[in-house]
Amino acid sequence: MDVIRISQMIKDYDLGKIKVRALCGVDLNIRKGEFVAIMGPSGSGKSTLMHIIGCLDRPSFGDYYLDDQLVSALPKSALSQIRNKKIGFVFQSFNLLPHLNIQKNVELPLMYSGLAVRKRSHKAIEILASVGLEDRLRHKPSELSGGQRQRVAIARAIVNEPSILLADEPTGNLDSQSGGDILEIFNKLHQAGNTVIMVTHDSAVAARADRVIRIMDGNIQDGDLAG
């Protein structure tokens, strides 16, 4: 069963006088529980693809089905709920809110999905324990190492049990040791049945995936050859 079905997707950016086509008719299916790496040089359109998969942006043309729901037809206002419930983001630069302690950071998606306060903290603590940070609940992100911060970010991404986990260069800001730890967590999540989509430059990182999708000039090169 495919969790993501994308067909003939085109994305144009209107830069005033000129139009730039970032994606030129992309077809892509991703199965549930698959671990996929997206690779490509900068300017290849991989960020654009990733933003559309993450429902942060909408395609200009083409259909995008997420969990059999045609999300490309949804208005922008409905996309925030999709992001909240179905997508977990992990960013290169962690993107934790610096003023909140890590428990509060992990609780944020639960707050926006309207969970009661007590249930939130239960769930957040449970998830943080699963990434080994149960003794740091009251720490601010600035008091943690890069690897620890990325673990908080992963906890935040999975706390709402999303359909897909979307990671953008998750090891890009980390040393190889903690980068390896983070990849191990993704591996475990994948083994537990989660769908993981990871954007990366690093072919060593990409090698851990079931399948590598190469993207170039807005086209997928050899998406179905790997794995």
């Binding site: 206002s77 925030s80 992001r83 926006y112 999905s113 309207g114 935040r156």
Partner: protein, 426 residues
Amino acid sequence: MAISLAESLHIGFADIWTRKVRSIVTIFGIVLGVMSIMVVLAIVNGMNKSTMKWMNERGGLTRIDVERNWSYDFSKGGKAEFNLREINYLQEQLPELAAFNSTISKGDAELSRGENKTMADLQGVMPDMVLVEDWRPDKGRFIKELDIQENNNVVVLGSTVAREIFGSRNPLGQLVTLSSETVSYNSSGEAESSLKATQLEVIGVMKERQMDSMGGPFQGNMLEYLNRRAYVPLSTMINKIDPNQQISSLELKAKDTESAGALRRKVEELVLNLKGGKRLFSIVSASEQMQQMKQNSMIFSVIFVMIAVISLLVGGIVIMNIMLASIKERTREIGVRLAIGARRRDIFTQFLVQTVLITGLGGVFGVVAGYSILGVVGKYLGVEVAASAQMVWVALFVSVGVGLIFGILPAVRASNLDPVLALREE
């Protein structure tokens, strides 16, 4: 489902707390604005109160005064004076009055008994003075109609005058000597003054008058000048003490406040006819005066509240700018919130609530600050200040309103951010 208001308030307080210094700077304008609204309203309120109190002390709102018209050009002829016949005529023409008094103010006169003497403000009055001033003797009686008819040598003393002459002894039935200077004109028109002594029997002592001033240039008892008076019958004053004195003022009292205005116009007409159409006298009704004063203080307070509101608006614009800058600075945070599922509505609410919280807090601090400087301001300006619960609500309402108005634009801008661009922001 959007996040609740309680949740937004919680986020708002946390935001304010993590940016303490900025928040304090931001609310400063609002604090000042609200503070000045508080102070202005309290001053106006206090002024109205003390005016009302003064009016009541001086015979209430039914009082009508006929006084020399100072704006009349007396070189055109005519004297602002009534003779006893005119007084009788006016009294007959105005049966609807509750009280009719006319006064001759002789001014400083020496009263003595043996070694003890003092200066008193000597006035010739009619029996109704007690009604006009709503002021009765404490001991003995006041001047009666019979005293007027018979030009009796009687005097009613103010409490201070009585104390200075008699000390603690009972003055009733005692004789005092009035030494007064009388100016007369000889055949060649030159003024000659002569001293004259008159024996007067003390028939009463007025109740002591007391009204504390509310700071200001007058310290102590504002009504002490009344305690320094001595009253003799109007006729005695003219016929026995000083024939040069003329009646130059009337104090009248209407039965009720409603009829005071109409009565004033009637008196004005009568006096005008009596004096051949010359406006020698001005006729003032206390109730109309009060209305005028209320109107004046209304205009005054509207002007000052508007100035305060303008300063609040300036404070609001400052807050709007700081919020806009803050949103620029927090673009990435907004991007993160949007990415993990915040709706535009949530972001909008978050920032609007934060602005309203800031202005609301400013309002609370402003009320507290305004309240705590009221006493000092009152003392410094020499006016009475009176705070009321209503003012507090006005101040808080206005400050929250400023937050709602000036919070909209920053909140709209925050909620309209594109999540992709916001996440890219450094």
